[in-house]
């Protein structure tokens, strides 16, 4: 079965600064893939290259058989890739519900607005409580939930999460990951970027270790956990 | 950034500047001796005047990073101060010019105190507004301050401006060739202004500004106060700008609100954009080219401002670093020496 998302030796960066080199990855439909690695080595750039925010300097990306390299970010969203960015990037002057509704901006998603809102509120009841609150006044954990909820509103075939546990207290991280497991169980294809391998590695079907802009190791999650040496070398864990 | 490497880089740049400057001055000295045409000499004198303004404006914009559109207003202050000192107090022109330069510095410090704490676009809008208000106050003044035989004379000259306020004495000395005297005065002023410009760009102030641009947090933590440095540059560059205005008044023996016009602002802005903001020789190159282009467009007078607008917009969109910037990007290798301060 061919992969839903396929990266073939991609290169990407910012101006003269080449961050990713020769990166290849296949993501199967319905699976959970984790990209781990030390900070500053290109994990965020990788997601941004997929969602079109950063142009490719080399290689090819295809999604459901369709090449993405010539598409604009908004077209890539329309194709079914939803990127929940690092740092949330909420619309600060809009309320929680306005932010969520922006998630369903595209016509296909907008048609399901009501139903999706109900789903998101069921999954993240805190958001329902605070639906009229202005985003810039939310706490870190609440902001994270809005970001993820906004991503869920878009629907999409591939959901990409950039460091969902960043800056959160452990109890909140638990809550966030409960949501992620829920989504995985429901069969969604998810790509997660995390600095900390521990949380995600054993549940993930595929783990890829990004070091210095290249994949130093890929394989099954359970395998990685069984090799503490690798973890130590790259993550000092 | 190692200080050693920086000073070596700066020193060789200064040497290059001195050589280039020397050659240009020598050439310029020869021009009136080689050509008999009055027109060429007087137009070149005008070029000197605009070149002074543009090199100083370049310091403000390109080095200080201050987006000020008040340059023409400061020029006007110098011009008007000279004319008024001559007209009302019959002051000798050399003294008047000097005082006018100082007056311009004072005005610029006032403007700077009001505007410099603000960010880029705010400064641009505010300085533009200050210039416009000054124009309105001068041009729309209809109250007669004095009443000589020539008619009602408002305090700042009103819409007609000032004439017959004195001159530098070249007419008495050289008769009909007085404009040659003006030529050399203009050249001298330009040489001084350019030397000042080089000193700022290649010297410690230039470094400080480079630091502020490259790494503002670090610069501030090392005690470089953006506001203080900007105020200094703004004020000092105003001296030569005012002097240029003063010389303009004396050279043409007339001053009027036309110096505030958008047309002139457009012209000078084009010079800077075409030449290249922030470089030493860019503004001069731009000034020369625009004066030549202006000559060419003289035939199609009506289209002049349209032509200028096209040049301005075209260059900003297509060649934002100006012509000097072109040379920079060719000459630069991927790993840049730490001492490379923008300079052609």
């Amino acid at each position: 079965m061919s992969a839903l998302l396929s990266l073939v030796r991609i290169g990407a960066g910012y101006g003269a600064n080449e961050v990713l080199r020769g990166v290849s990855l296949d993501v199967a439909e319905g699976s959970l893939t984790a990209i781990i690695g030390p900070n500053g080595h290109g994990k965020t750039t990788l997601l941004r290259a997929i969602s079109g925010l950063v142009p490719l300097t080399a290689g090819a990306i295809s999604f459901a058989g369709r090449p993405l390299m010539t598409l604009r970010p908004d077209e890539i969203v329309a194709a079914g890739i939803v990127h929940v960015p690092q740092g949330d990037l909420l619309f600060p002057e809009m309320s929680v519900i306005d932010n969520l509704q922006m998630g369903a901006y595209l016509p296909d998603a907008a048609k399901q607005m009501r139903a999706r809102l109900d789903e998101v509120f069921a999954l993240l009841p805190k958001l329902k409580e605070r639906r009229s609150q202005i985003a810039s006044t939310l706490s870190g954990g609440e902001r994270r939930m809005v970001g993820i909820g906004r991503g869920l509103m878009a629907g999409g075939r591939l959901l990409m999460l950039d460091e969902p546990s960043l800056g959160l207290a452990p109890i909140l991280i638990d809550q966030i990951y409960d949501v992620i497991w829920e989504l995985t169980r429901a069969g969604r294809t998810i790509l997660v970027v995390e600095e900390n391998a521990a949380r995600i590695a054993d549940k993930a079907a595929q783990v890829a270790l990004l070091d210095n802009g290249q994949f130093a190791w890929t394989g099954q999650g359970a395998e990685l956990m069984a090799r503490p040496k690798i973890l130590e070398t790259y993550l000092g864990a | 950034m190692s200080i050693g490497a920086v000073s070596i880089g700066a020193a060789s740049s200064v040497r290059r500047d001195l050589i280039l400057g020397g050659v240009l001055i020598a050439l310029a000295i020869l021009v009136p001796l080689l050509t008999g045409t009055r027109y060429i000499v007087t137009q070149t004198t005008l070029f000197f005047i605009w070149a002074i303004v543009v090199t100083q404006w370049n310091l403000v914009l390109g080095v200080g990073g201050i987006f000020s559109l008040a340059q023409m207003a400061l020029f006007a202050v110098g011009a008007y101060a000279t004319a008024m000192l001559g007209y009302y107090f019959h002051m000798p022109m050399v003294l008047a010019m000097l005082l006018a330069g100082i007056a311009t510095v004072l005005v610029s410090v006032l403007i700077g105190l009001a505007c410099l704490r603000l960010r880029g676009p705010y400064v641009a809008l505010l300085t533009l507004a200050v210039a416009q208000v000054m124009y309105l106050l001068v041009a729309n003044d209809t109250e007669c301050f004095t009443n000589p035989e020539s008619g009602c004379m408002p305090l700042f000259g009103g819409i007609r401006g000032f004439t017959r306020f004195g001159d530098l004495g070249f007419r008495a000395l050289f008769g009909s060739k007085f404009y040659v005297g003006h030529y050399y005065v203009g050249l001298g002023l330009l040489a001084l202004a350019t030397a000042f410009s080089v000193a700022i760009i290649r010297g410690p102030a230039g470094l400080a500004f480079q630091a502020l641009r490259d790494n503002p947090g670090y610069a501030v933590s090392r005690g470089i106060s953006r506001f203080k440095y900007q105020l200094w540059v703004f004020g000092l560059s105003a001296f030569f700008t005012g002097l240029a205005g003063a010389f303009y008044a004396v050279n043409f023996a007339a001053v009027g609100p036309i110096v505030f016009s958008i047309s002139v602002l457009l012209f000078l802005l084009s010079m800077i954009v075409v030449g290249g903001i922030g470089t030493v020789w860019g503004p001069l190159l731009g000034a020369a080219l625009l004066m030549l282009a202006d000559e060419a467009m003289r035939e199609v007078g009506d289209w002049r401002d349209i032509g200028l607008g096209l040049i301005l917009a075209g260059f900003v969109v297509l060649l934002p670093k100006g012509l000097a910037g072109l040379r920079l990007s060719w000459g630069r290798r991927p790993s840049q020496a730490p001492g490379d301060i923008p300079g052609a």
Binding site: E93, Y105 | L126, V133, L136, N140, D305, I306, V317
Partner: protein, 292 residues
């Protein structure tokens, strides 16, 4: 007392005219971080197109206004495509587009000068007569201007709050990348904002010229004042800009009455500088976020 009412009436009219302009400028700055210095030229262009449509082509006033809006909207679009879009990614975008639009403004103004000449022309879209209450004369034209401005602002508020384009504009202004990740085609949004701003400039230009006549360079001062208003409110804050426009309109009317027309801009400027020394980001400003 009558004098006071007179001043308030003129002040509100002035404020209303500025507010229409200011909204366009605030939207453009809030979305693109762009100070459109060609706005003044667009004001003049709108006034002239309306006059041409009515006086030379004999069209109905509403068609004249529509023509002006379309032409100026189109020019706004051209400004986006030719100048803003090519430079969007560059580090010095704010400065570069500022200078580029100064050039474009000069081009437009001089084209008007070439086409229509330098003589002042009265704007035909002008209601005669006045509302008389006791000793107070409020010209019908002023009431029309006020009415149109209020209607326009209400329509814009609706557009921004409830329409899909409005949400896209707000989202893009608040966080461009996030908007892209929601599927917003930001390039389109920018183009539409500039076109909208052009159309608003046309209306503003028609209103201003109906009171003070048409001249090719008529847009310079109103544009500068509109920008100053935006700066006082805090660049990008649309509601704040409207409020500031009305206050400054009232102030201008009051100063004109007390000190004469000559000093009103100067006093305005001094006040603005004072405000900015107190609040460098403007009265309601925080960052470049369109607060809608």
């Amino acid at each position: 007392m009558d004098v006071l009412i007179q001043i308030i009436a003129s002040g509100l009219t002035l404020g209303a005219m500025y507010a229409v302009s200011t909204i366009g400028l605030a939207l453009v700055y809030g979305s693109l971080n762009m100070l459109n210095m060609a706005h003044g030229a667009l004001l003049a262009l709108g006034g002239y197109v309306c006059w041409y449509a009515m006086a030379t082509l004999g069209l109905h006033p509403l068609l004249g206004v529509a023509a002006a809006m379309i032409v100026c909207g189109a020019v706004g679009l051209v400004i986006y495509c030719a100048a803003a879009q090519p430079m969007l990614g560059s580090a010095n975008f704010e400065t570069q587009i500022f200078i580029a639009t100064i050039g474009i403004g000069a081009i437009i103004e001089n084209v008007i000068l070439r086409l229509f000449g330098p003589q002042p022309t009265p704007q035909p879209l002008n209601l005669t007569g006045a509302l008389v209450i006791g000793n107070v004369h409020i010209p019908h034209q002023n009431l029309l201007i006020l009415g149109v401005a209020l209607g326009l602002m209400a329509a814009l508020a609706l557009l921004l709050r409830h329409s899909r384009l409005g949400r896209a504009i707000r989202a893009t202004a608040q966080n461009r990348e996030a908007a892209q990740l929601m599927g917003v085609r930001v390039g389109f949004v920018y183009a539409q904002v500039l076109a909208l701003s052009g159309a608003l400039a046309a209306i503003s230009g028609i209103m201003i010229s109906s009171l003070s006549g048409l001249l090719p360079n008529m847009g310079g001062d109103p544009m500068l004042k509109a920008f100053i208003i935006c700066v006082v409110a805090g660049l990008g804050n649309v509601y704040g800009a409207v409020a500031a426009a009305i206050v400054l309109g009232l102030l201008e009317a009051a100063t004109q009455y007390v000190l004469g027309v000559r000093y009103s801009f100067a006093i305005l400027l001094l006040l603005v500088i004072a405000v900015l020394i107190w609040r460098p980001y403007g009265l309601f400003g925080r960052k470049q976020v369109v607060r809608l």
